[in-house]
Amino acid sequence: MIDLLFYVFAAITLISALLMVVSPNAVNGAICMIISFISTAALFVLLEAYFLAVIQVLVYAGAVMVLFLFIIMLMDVDKDTSRLIKDKLTLAASIAGFSLIVILMCAAFASGEHLPETALLPVLENPTGEGIGIPYTTSAKSFGYSLFTKYMLPFQVTGFLLLAAMIGVIVVSKKHVENS
């Protein structure tokens, strides 16, 4: 049953991502992108990363894609849909590169002989915090525990990065005023 769910959500993710790439209308592409992100969140649920699934839906499918849709509708860039792709040579080259990567991925991972098939480990309900590595848990408490112990410095750096991004966005999107 859960295996069937994996295949269904994997198919939805791949098909909607492909529709996003080939869709001539950018708004339709953004909607396909939202579907792809939500089914990726469903795959996170299948991997028992519930907190990340919620974050994925809130941040990616919510905030990021709404920002994209807002900018697409603000710009109205779909006036001429005649010249979507660059030229014939670019089309042939990109399709050749895409098929090369697909063949490589299928040869490496579809047969299942190269990587050992590891079994799913049991999941703890609560983090213990003992030992060096933090074991895989389903609770959001372990995120807070890891963020404030092992990943304290990256957490602070990410905060400064968000501050810098905010100031940068304000500076870049401000209307340029001529100095008199």
Partner: protein, 101 residues
């Protein structure tokens, strides 16, 4: 669930390939940017799968940081695209070649 790690890595690789196809094929800057987000998403999926099958929390924390940085990056990139559109009235990459002349 009896689906192994290989299936998740294959799915993440195919998603990454689709994102790469979008980046090198399309001309609209916004669609190129969405394809970049798709590639980041594929890496997130691979990291969560490795974390789950390895039994440690570190991959999940990486994905947490990647989502944070991606949100900041999208805000900044879209601001740059809006400034470019205000200056040149287009977002098609084949018309934004003023540096090569």
């Amino acid at each position: 669930m009896t689906v192994g790690l290989n299936a998740f890595i294959l799915l993440a690789g195919l998603l990454f390939a689709i994102g790469l196809l979008g980046v090198i094929l399309r001309k609209n800057t916004l669609v190129i940017y969405m394809s970049l987000e798709l590639m980041l998403n594929a890496v997130n999926l691979a990291l969560v799968a490795f974390s789950r099958y390895n039994g440690t929390m570190d991959g999940n924390l990486f994905v947490f940081f990647i989502i944070t940085v991606a949100a900041a990056e999208v805000a900044l990139g879209l601001a740059i695209i809006v400034a470019l559109f205000r200056l040149r009235q287009t977002v098609m990459v084949d018309e934004l070649t003023s540096l090569s002349r």
